[in-house]
Amino acid sequence: MSHRVVVTGWGVISPIGNTAAEYWSNLSRGVSGIADATIISTDHLTQKVVAEVKDFDPRRYFDDRQITTLDRVSQFAVVAAREAVEHASISFADGLSERTATIIGTGVGGQSTQDESYKRLYQEHAKRLHPLTIPRLMVNAPASQVSMHCGLRGPCFAVASACASATHAVGLAFHLVRSGGATCAVTGGSDACITFGTMKGWEAMRIMAPDTCRPFSRDRKGMVIGEGAAIVVLESMEHARQRSATMLGEIVGFGMSSDAVDLLSPDESGMVRALENALADSRLSPEDIQYVNAHGTGTTANDEAETQAIKRIFGRHAGKLAVSSNKSMIGHALGAAGGLELVATLMAIREEIAPPTINYLGPDPACDLDYVPNEARPLRIEAALSNSFAFGGLNAVLAVRRLW
């Protein structure tokens, strides 16, 4: 039996707000979270701008004993998950815990732990590492920590597909609840890889913007690394109805594909197949969509290929779409990006506002859609797509719909 799947709670840690409400307030006002890094020294970095989570003090959320077990990436995931569960006003007692899945995407897992450990070993010549080094840095740590902190005993695992991790995670959770394999799911993504080591790695790729992220704009100079987490509570519509939960939106489709072409360069036809699959899965037609929350990294290659892919799928209707990239404000939170963008998409539907693509200087001939430049716009959205396209050629698209 197929179940309709609704979202009943969300939680966010982001460069523009450490609650979902603050995130949306800033997102819809076009507030930038991009600035010089402060959590790491930029003395030996040429790439100085990042989109950091601000004012995040783990002691506000955890006791000292808990903090030693949690890398920053897991702290973000747990705090966002707690907010989502509280927002959903859900109790997992009476057997629901066993029927609730925890599927959390992350690109690279516990990078702070890894970076600090290597520094101790190779630079300070330490003889030993902290006993919790491995459980803090393992890529499933955010998923395991969310399951423990929220008491969820159903299927639990991590999904790693670089920049598409959260979208793949939510998509799998959606299919699991739709099929009846789980009644509820706590799902989304988390990443926290603003460390000296990872930043040197990103720097070496030569795709980072030195100033800010300008998706789809002329003179865009690339991406800006972000961090954060976004977690949603999914449940079958019957279950949400039974307990009189507030339904925030419906997930109606999920499409995936892989390019199998190039490790880095995006492939338009791979994007097209993921978009097609999401539409087919949702039984929506292209004309039903008013808003696309773009992957929109701000690199020359992604933004051109994504624009072409949207035009191929939507044809003449592409000109009527509002397409915007949250990365202009929150940078690229990698494994969390798809979660942050899904929440933004659901909020856009609910609030009837398309969030803007800020830092937009003017059109690039290769990017000729309506990107909601610089200012949010009132927009009645019946259905929308949220795109994630990852390094390694991994594509994932979610389709969501207004409930009423």
Binding site: T46, A204, M205, R206, I207, M208, A209, P210, R220, K221, G222, L264, S265, G298, T299, T300
Partner: protein, 83 residues
């Protein structure tokens, strides 16, 4: 040919298939088949070899190192600036 020029040529040649290694100063990197990914690797090799910092962003179309000769003279300037 001086040492810098021959080292730069060797580093560029490493990125090319054998049949394209007989290039001249005026040959354009793009025509030789150096795409943006190979360019990034080539720049890494040049920075490591000469202990210099080359500013290059693959999103920036205004990259002025178009030909083999351009690369050699840019590296010579950077090496001169270093010492």
């Amino acid at each position: 040919m001086d040492d810098v020029a021959s080292d730069v040529i060797a580093i560029i040649a490493e990125r090319l298939p054998a049949e394209k290694r007989n290039f001249g100063m005026a040959d354009r990197l793009e025509d030789l088949g150096i795409d943006s990914f190979s360019a990034v690797e080539m720049i890494f090799d040049l920075e490591e070899k000469f202990d210099i910092q080359i500013s290059y962003n693959s999103n920036d179309a205004r990259f002025d190192l178009e030909t083999v000769g351009d690369v050699i003279s840019a590296i010579k300037n950077l090496v001169a600036g270093r010492s």
